[in-house]
Amino acid sequence: MKVLKIHPEKCTGCLRCELACSYMQTGDYQPAKSVIRVSPFEGHTSYAPYTCTQCAEGWCMTACPVGAITISAVGAKDVQDDRCVGCKLCTIACPYGTMFYDPATRKAFKCNLCGGAPACAEACPTAAITYEDVETADWLGDFARERTARVLAEAR
């Protein structure tokens, strides 16, 4: 299946992906409602977006007590709003921190790959987010390890 591949070295931290995501998902330009989230590294000199990997287990999906999370036509784990009761079990089952909850709607929400046309990838001006037919992977681990050396040196 096609997944969001992150190329962190290309990210400029412009946050367009967060705006595009929140607009597509909720109709509002509100980064707080975005399910892709950009993190700064090395004192805001590097950045990387982080979002759901659409993992094989689907911890959110198997945890849901009412079967409200299914697999969409494009292979994304997707919350069915008419089934979700807002119990938050998915938010503690997901070990990646990519299940969110909207107190206004009382529903869980997450990346659903925008039904096959991810707004974040379209909005990214530097192709730091691409939508490709590859195995999902840990796109940020090595990048973050290199770029957090100074933070860690300070902690010692």
Partner: protein, 441 residues
């Protein structure tokens, strides 16, 4: 391979087992479900109580779905005896069901404080669908509800009671609330938050009896004045439903003792969910984890093994979350491990709290509190679960987190926790979506 499966209990563990048998088996087997109640999800009863969902929404499998799954049902009946030599289970109406293998998933029941009047009118438990109906029928706007007990079960319905317009008082015999879910500091923050939101909390308060006074309930307290309530809810604990197994050969300790395949001491008898005493992921010791996620994982492991697969279970992780008045409260793993190294951070004005616990350089437990509208709370809730579940070696990040317990995300990403989690699945293959199970093999 077993041809006749018997599932005793229609809760989360039982239903996940049935679905997984149908997903995994290579030849069609017969499945019999014995359940005192129609299958429904207890997790969602609070949302039925606040009327945000219809009663029909709570059911996890309708008669049609059970028929599609090829399940013979014995509903409205309870198992009363298990003869593991003859492979026969006896039900309370005298029916005898033969099996090749069976799953004990009879769950647990609510228990009430042993005081006079606890079984009187206007005193409720909130555990089963029937009990939820009873509470729903009694609470009116302006009702005074007294909740006896301040544990997780009580807290799951606080929001519902308040949203029905009732006035709420919580009475807890222990010196603090949520004793089995968070530590003293966290409990103090939650109690203050509740009081700021108009909930009266009386801790260290011993209930001695309940009297009926002109249609209302008077709760006699050992000290500090009595309470008068329209509705009393007893959330004073649960007890595993194991009495019916007395006289069977199945080894019971706190629960039915199971191995890493969820088999009991009798090889063709499995146990799952609240009644099972299986491996704890963190301590690797056996324990009863009476929580929904464990029932789900147990059920699926049993289903796969009943279908002839050989699936080992890594052990279950205690995880709990409850939201009260828009404050998220969650804990993971061995959050109460007195021998662990610990660090915490408090922002009392938000309120926000993190407590992190280590054995060596691995995170073995965590507590987190934060506003439910705060996206970083949700983020850290998941990542803390991931760090505890994966047990990644934190290396130099341990020192960073000790100084900065709110800075979870860089530690999670830079320790490549995602890499260690991605290959992990419960059944050794990608999970199927809820509607995807084969209805005929």
């Amino acid at each position: 391979m077993a041809r006749r499966h018997l599932i005793i209990g229609g809760g989360t563990a039982g239903m996940n087992a049935i679905r997984t048998i149908r997903e995994e088996e290579s030849e069609r087997s017969t499945i019999t479900l014995v359940s005192a109640e129609k299958p429904y999800s207890r997790m969602v009863l609070p949302y039925y109580l606040d009327r945000s969902i219809a009663e029909s929404h709570v059911f996890t499998a309708t008669a049609r779905v059970l028929a599609d799954w090829g399940t013979t049902t014995q509903l409205g009946k309870r198992a009363t005896a298990l003869d593991t030599k003859a492979n026969v289970c006896t039900l309370d109406d005298g029916t005898k069901v033969e099996y090749d293998d069976c799953l004990i998933a009879t769950g647990s029941s609510a228990v009430r404080a042993p005081v006079p009047g606890a079984d009187g009118p206007g005193v409720h438990s909130f555990w089963t669908l029937d009990q939820a109906r009873g509470v729903l029928a009694q609470i009116q706007p302006g009702s005074h509800v007294v909740m006896v007990g301040a544990g997780f079960i009580a807290f799951t319905i606080l929001n519902s009671i308040l949203s029905l317009g009732a006035k709420l008082t919580i009475v807890e015999v222990a010196p603090r609330i949520l004793p089995r879910m968070i530590d003293d500091t966290g409990a103090g923050l939650v109690q203050t938050w509740l009081e700021q939101n108009g909930v009266a909390v009386r801790t260290g308060a011993k209930l001695t009896r309940i009297d009926d006074v002109k249609g209302r309930r008077r709760l006699k307290m050992a000290a500090g004045g009595d309470l008068v309530a329209d509705v009393v809810i007893m959330a004073t604990g649960i007890r595993t439903n194991l009495d019916w197994l007395k006289g069977s050969d199945v080894k019971i300790n706190q629960g039915v003792v199971v191995d890493d395949h969820l088999r009991s001491s009798v090889p063709n008898v499995y146990a799952a969910g609240d009644v099972a005493e299986g491996r704890d992921l963190i301590s690797q010791a056996n324990a009863v984890h009476a929580i929904e996620p464990t029932a789900q994982e147990h059920g699926r492991i049993v289903g796969a093994n009943m279908a002839g697969k050989d699936v080992r279970y890594r052990g279950s992780l205690i995880i709990n979350i409850v939201e009260v008045c828009h404050l998220d409260v969650a804990s993971f793993g061995a959050w109460d491990d007195a021998k662990a190294e610990a660090a915490n951070g408090v922002k009392p004005d938000r309120p926000a709290y993190r407590k992190l616990l280590w054995r060596g350089d691995r995170l073995t437990g965590a507590i987190i509190l934060g506003p439910s509208s705060d996206i970083w709370t949700s983020n850290d809730v998941g990542m803390l679960k991931g760090l505890v579940q994966s047990g990644v070696s934190l290396g130099p990040w341990k020192a960073h987190l000790k100084k900065n317990p709110f800075d979870i995300k860089p530690a999670f990403i830079a320790t490549k926790t995602t890499s260690s989690l991605l290959p992990e699945t419960i059944l050794g293959r990608p999970s199927k979506a809820p509607g995807e199970s084969p209805v005929a093999v």
